[in-house]
């Protein structure tokens, strides 16, 4: 598909979907159900606001969401208490499909949401958005409701007008511009059209989610894009401009971990798809350095990039959804 044509037809602005009554009518006409899932790990400061807004605006005032769920990785702060107080369905990731064990990472929560939630569309929204607004959900869900050919909608953002030490502009973030987009340019040029491939907000049809594997760590978004693209092509994607997103600043060292996770997931896709078949085994060890006084020392992080198989291969899921009947 021509990238320019795709940009014209599949790139939206949230303002195009301001008419929520119309959106809900269309949702009901198609008999669709929509879930919103917020993966959390120690997000007590921001989770309350997200839940208040989504519940009040998109469940009570405009019934776009049928489920509002928090799936938590084992927070040690008051995340669970706050989430329950504001009316979310709260799940511990380790309690979902416990017989399959519990893996560390956000991808585990996203994957288990497919089993736990019941809707046709799942919208994932990160919990650390300081300027949360209902558009973060309806802006992503609307293209799926209005256009049956679209299967996966990604968010992208503008730069904030004002920043302080604690917030940063996220439009075209650092990891995207110096890592992911160059990699896509080399191997999957059409995917460069996604303005923010790493954004943590996206809405996806169940029929897609259940068919793709889920890396547990930082590579989950990148591998999603490659997998969906390989199966359904660029026309399955859309992206929505949600204006501004204000969130926590990521230290450069943490960006290094993110890049490492993305690279591992990316290379594993290159290998499994036969694009670069002869890669050596990839180490799970990330080496960084720090200086104390005049002494330099190596710091080694072990970052295994585990992966969950497509949910549709899990017998419990097939049984729950009646897929073997």
């Amino acid at each position: 598909m021509d990238i320019n044509r795709w940009l014209q037809t599949n790139t939206f602005h949230h303002r195009q979907f301001w008419d929520l009554m119309r959106l809900i009518e269309e949702k009901e006409r198609q008999g669709l159900r929509v879930s919103l899932c917020i993966p959390t790990l120690n997000e007590e400061k921001t989770i309350g606001k997200e839940l208040v807004l989504f519940r009040s605006e998109l469940m009570d005032r405009y019934p776009l969401l049928d489920e509002l769920a928090v799936i938590d990785s084992g927070s040690t702060d008051r995340t669970l208490e706050v989430a329950a107080a504001f009316g979310a369905d709260v799940y511990l990731s380790s309690d979902i499909l416990p017989q399959l064990g519990n893996k560390r990472g956000k991808g585990e929560n996203l994957w288990k949401a497919i089993y736990q939630l019941n809707s046709d569309i799942i919208c994932y929204v990160d919990a650390d958005i300081k300027n949360i607004h209902p558009r973060f959900a309806y802006g992503l869900i609307a293209p799926l409701i209005y256009q049956p050919s679209i299967k996966y909608v990604k968010a992208f953002y503008d730069r904030p007008l004002a920043t302080s030490n604690e917030i940063r502009p996220s439009g075209g973030g650092r990891a995207t511009e110096i890592l992911v987009r160059p990699l896509f340019s080399l191997f999957f040029p059409e995917l460069t059209a996604l303005i923010q491939p790493l954004s943590g907000e996206y809405a996806v049809r169940r029929e897609v989610l259940e068919c793709i594997p889920f890396p547990m760590g930082y590579g989950v978004e990148t591998s999603h894009l490659i997998d969906v693209y390989s199966e359904w092509g660029l026309e399955a994607f859309a992206q929505t401009d949600l204006d501004q997103r204000v969130h926590r600043h990521q230290p450069t060292r943490d960006l290094g971990k993110m890049a490492f996770g993305i690279l591992r997931a990316f290379f594993s896709r290159l290998r499994s798809r036969g694009i670069v078949p002869d890669l050596p085994p990839l180490t799970p060890l990330l080496r960084q350095f720090q200086v104390q006084g005049r002494e330099y020392e190596q710091v080694i992080f072990e970052l295994p990039e585990e992966e969950r198989p497509p949910m549709i291969e899990i017998p419990e899921y097939r049984a729950k959804r009646g897929l073997d009947a």
Binding site: K49, V52, R55, S56, R61, G87, N131, H133
Partner: protein, 405 residues
């Protein structure tokens, strides 16, 4: 008389039962508070907030959703009565925070925190939520309720939004209620006269002189402040004192803000004082205004500095008496909800209503902390009680319980 008491008792009985039925509206109120509070609205730049408010009014199916010449956001919740009468419910939309201040709010189970969250994002959020509450609880009023997000209220705005509306509308407004986010228990029904002033001092500095020998605008402004503070704040003559107001000093000087200079080691080239004088009598303020003009002139002549005094806001004294039925019945409503009324003699919005002979009160919705700071916060739990109180007062006015005075 018997019928009136019966009507009042009916209202009290209804109000006591309100808080539990308001529980289902807590999240709607909080959501409106968050969305309104995150839209910056410095005085003269409230249009985005007003647009949001108007959108809410439209969604609620109110009539006459509009913006007037000064940007006030208006809508009417039509009453069912045959006699045409209106109650004005207003909340100021502007805040003292610049657009460049991050306006993200944080939400805990106990409170919401962020710039101007209480003063007056919460007041505006109550206006945005109230039509839904009244509709869903099937509370039908005979009077039209005019809902107004008022612009240009603070500082140099000098209540221009409310004043414009009161001067230019042709509605039969029988009472006014100003909604403030804080504090719960606030019951203002009278106002002192006030004068808000700015004194700006600028000194001439020689480019070839040593820094240490340059004059400082802060020193000259300090001289002005010292002389203003030395002014005798006069006693008020007895006829004016007859106003039914609680005990506070007759005339008060509030030194509100100073700005000036750029560095600790460089004499300031300019300095600014913002202050307010409050008094039971406008005449006293007129006298003090003249004296301050004299002080400014004298210090300017003595020092060679350019010193300008400007009055940026002014309100008149007056109000309704403490035994006005609106006040008495509001106290009863508060008591029935366990709210301790707290009266204060300075309420600038009451002053605007006074000028148009409209009985009015100002009510607070919840408990707030760190007012006017970036970490201003407002407690969630008391909010519904504050809303119940407001609905009670509306029912009171609507039931003619306040017409006897």
């Amino acid at each position: 008389m018997t019928e009136a008491i019966s009507q009042e008792d009916q209202v009290l009985h209804r109000v006591r039962r309100l808080p539990p039925s308001l529980e289902g509206f807590r999240e709607m109120l909080l959501a409106n508070l968050i969305m309104i509070g995150e839209i910056p609205a410095p005085t003269y730049a409230e249009s985005q907030r007003i647009e949001f408010l108007k959108q809410r009014f439209t969604e609620c199916g109110l009539s006459n959703c509009s913006t007037d010449d000064v940007g006030n956001g208006l809508a009417v919740l039509p009453g069912s009565g045959e006699r045409r009468r209106s109650v004005l419910l207003t909340a100021h939309a502007d805040t003292p925070f610049s657009s460049t201040v991050p306006h993200t709010l944080t939400v805990d189970t106990q409170r919401i925190t962020g710039p101007a969250v209480a003063d007056n994002s919460l007041g505006l959020a109550v206006l945005a939520t109230l039509p839904s509450i009244l509709e869903q609880l099937d509370i039908r009023l005979r009077s039209d309720i005019v809902l107004m997000g008022a612009t240009r209220s603070l500082g140099r705005g000098d209540l221009a939004g409310l004043r414009f509306f009161l001067e230019n509308n042709d509605l039969p407004i029988t009472a006014g209620i100003s909604v403030e986010g804080a504090q719960l228990g606030r019951l203002h029904y009278a106002s002192l006269a006030s004068l808000g002033g700015e004194i700006r001092c600028t000194v001439r500095q020689e480019s070839d002189a040593e820094e240490g020998s340059q004059p400082s605008a802060i020193a000259e402004l300090t001289e002005v402040i010292d002389r203003i503070r030395a002014l005798p704040l006069p006693e008020v003559p007895d006829p004016i004192r007859a106003l039914p107001l609680p005990e506070v000093p007759d005339t008060t000087l509030v030194l509100g803000a100073v700005e000036g200079g750029t560095s600790y080691k460089t004499p300031a080239k300019s300095a600014l004082l913002r202050f307010q004088l409050r008094s039971e009598a406008g005449k006293v303020l007129a006298d003090l205004e003249q004296r301050i003009e004299g002080i400014v002139e004298e210090v300017s002549l003595d020092s060679g500095a350019e010193i300008r005094f400007e009055v940026i806001a002014r309100t008149n004294a007056g109000g309704i008496p403490a035994d006005h039925p609106l006040v008495i019945q509001t106290r009863r409503i508060m008591a029935s909800l366990g709210i301790q009324p707290r009266s204060d003699r300075f309420s600038s919005t009451v002053s605007s209503f006074i000028e148009h002979h409209v009985p009015s009160i100002t009510l607070g919705i919840s408990k707030a902390h760190n007012l006017s700071q970036c970490d201003e916060s407002v407690e969630i739990e008391p909010m519904l009680k504050g809303v119940a109180q407001l609905i009670g007062v509306l029912l009171t006015i609507d039931g003619d319980c306040c017409d006897g005075h």
